[in-house]
């Protein structure tokens, strides 16, 4: 990773420290600054409320010209998170073709928070969960809460 990419990541971490975005905690390791661990609270009023989710943000060597890669390390029942051991997310500004260099990780984290409140069904990586969200909201919330109890407490 180039020195300028590292500078940029440092700068962003600094901004996160001053801004202190609500509902999350960032673990930053200066020895390995290309991988952030984020602890995110399930937003109040969402099906994930009360849960604590561990996320991993990995910065590519080409950062900020390529998007960071976000994955849930805590299992979550969500249409936009892949239901495998990767827990990957790939939508909106996280998509390589939509990412823009001025975008910041904070924006990514806020996007994730908003997706926990309202999933993006049109862009579901788990279409069956997306469909359930659309057609059987009760069942969806039941399942999502079930998973919070099982994995995110």
């Amino acid at each position: 990773m180039s020195a300028s990419a590292k500078k940029r990541i440092m700068r962003e971490y600094g901004e996160c420290m001053t801004e202190k975005p609500a509902g999350m905690k960032i673990n930053f390791d200066e020895q390995n600054m290309t991988k952030w661990e984020v602890l995110m609270d399930g937003p109040d009023g969402s099906a994930y409320a009360g849960g604590h989710f561990k996320l991993e943000i990995v910065f590519p060597n080409e950062y900020p010209f390529k998007p960071p890669v976000v994955s849930f390390r805590t299992k979550i029942y969500h249409p936009n998170v892949s239901n495998d051991d990767k827990g990957s997310m790939c939508l909106g500004l996280l998509r390589p073709d939509e990412w823009k260099p001025p975008n910041k990780v904070v924006a990514v984290l806020r996007l994730i928070q908003s997706l926990m409140v309202e999933p993006n069904i049109d862009d579901a990586i788990e279409p069956s969960i997306g469909n359930e969200y659309k057609e059987n909201r009760k069942e969806f919330e039941k399942n999502a809460k079930d998973w919070v109890k099982r994995y995110a407490k």
Partner: protein, 409 residues
């Protein structure tokens, strides 16, 4: 949009045609060999965009003055009395690196008159990297750079960008632009020789080729020869020349050979056919031409109820189809499963004592390359029923806690 060209192919690089497209916005491109114009002829207005929209910033962001955007200048503007003006430095909005303002291409910042604050504070290195990204993404319809900051649509034009980036980057971009625009023109084909790869005019070469091969009897395939390296190709199927073999057979042979390689690198968009290259990231792709969402691995379109094709590595990641997510290993389905299977019109499961797996998902009729798979409503419905049953009958788990499965991680 057939484009005619009649220049001799003796020239080292053909002069590129103007950009195609109904918008009719000419992009002035020059081959990398031609010199830049001394005085900018009327700069081609950036296509379809607002161009110098932020002309209001003109003058206010003169180089050397601190910008209002919070990014300070390291040293105050030089006083007139000092013999040597201190170099002006500023920090790049993108890479957070402090560099000098200079008029050299490559490093530092170039003072671009009339550019938006963002471009004024984006270093040349970052501009070069953005151009590199454009090349990688084949984002080459327009030879400009649009400001990536929100609500700013300022456009840096081709000539300005060329003055900012390193020579190598400049040449790469020119070549990519050239090839991109040539490849959009029907009459140009790329040479298949990997050491050549140049585009040449079919029309110019056809005559020569058919002359030299006039003995070709049943002319079922038409050879064409690259004017640069003399590589022979088949004009009908655009493969290396395959002599007596038919195009179909050549196609099969090639597919067998290179399917694996091609599969992993680039594929045509299943909707519009644009070449989509995957470089990192997940298999969920969005075509940048038609915005179609699809799985890069199996080419099935994304949407509610989508089902990845048989053999796609993403297939089992769909939650309702992943046995680990809805059936604990020790559930006893003996009594109700066969009835449910019959109700869903599926064959009975073979009895496998001690092992319980969901029924295999029937292969779609035309797995790979099919634009859209039939949605397995019946099966998904069945799986949902099973899951619902499972929720309502925790006792069948033989497991006090209601069928907890193991975290996948």
């Amino acid at each position: 949009m057939a484009r005619k060209r009649s220049s001799q192919h003796a020239a080292p690089q053909p002069t590129p045609p103007t950009a195609s497209g109904s918008a009719g916005n000419p992009i002035s491109l020059r081959g990398s060999n031609s010199p830049a114009p001394a005085a900018p002829a009327i700069p081609a207005p950036p296509t379809g965009r607002s161009g110098l929209r932020s002309a209001k910033s003109l003058g206010t962001v003169a180089v050397g003055q601190p910008t209002t955007q919070g990014n300070r200048v390291a040293k105050a503007a030089p006083k007139k009395k000092e013999p040597k003006p201190k170099p002006i430095k500023k920090e790049c909005f993108i890479c957070a690196t402090t560099r000098q303002v200079s008029n050299c291409a490559g490093r530092g910042f170039k003072a671009v008159e009339g550019a938006c604050d963002h471009f004024q504070n984006t270093c040349n290195v970052c501009i070069g990297k953005m151009i590199k990204e454009k090349i990688v993404k084949r984002d080459l319809d327009e030879a400009v750079l649009v400001c990536a900051f929100p609500d700013c649509e300022h456009v840096l034009d081709y000539n300005t960008i060329r003055q900012m980036i390193f020579k190598g980057a400049r040449e790469n971009w020119d070549t990519a632009l050239l090839n991109h625009h040539l490849s959009n023109s029907e009459n140009y084909v790329p040479c298949l020789n990997p050491n050549c790869g140049r585009y040449f005019s079919v029309e110019d070469c056809q005559a020569k080729s058919s002359e030299s091969r006039s003995k070709n009897k049943a002319d079922r395939s038409h050879p064409i020869t690259c004017p640069y390296c003399e590589e022979d190709m088949c004009l009908d199927c655009m493969r290396p020349w395959h002599r007596s073999t038919s195009c179909d057979k050549a196609k099969i042979a090639e597919e067998e050979q290179s399917l694996q390689v091609i599969k992993n690198i680039s594929k045509p968009c299943p909707k519009c056919g644009a070449n989509i290259q995957k470089n990192g990231g997940c298999n969920h792709m969005k075509c940048r031409h038609c915005k179609h969402d699809f799985c890069f691995s199996c080419l099935v379109g994304f949407g509610p109820n989508m089902q990845h094709a048989e053999g796609c590595p993403e297939r089992n990641q769909n939650i309702l189809q992943d046995p680990r997510n809805w059936l604990p290993d020790d559930v006893n389905i003996g009594n109700w499963m066969p009835a449910m299977m019959r109700a869903a019109g599926l064959p009975d499961l073979p009895q496998q004592p001690g092992q319980v797996l969901p029924p295999p998902i029937p292969p779609p009729p035309n797995p790979v390359g099919a634009p859209r798979q039939p949605e397995p409503r019946g099966l998904l419905g069945l799986l949902q029923m099973i899951r619902a049953f499972h929720h309502n009958h925790p006792e069948v788990n033989g497991n006090a806690n209601g069928g907890q499965d193991q975290p996948g991680n």
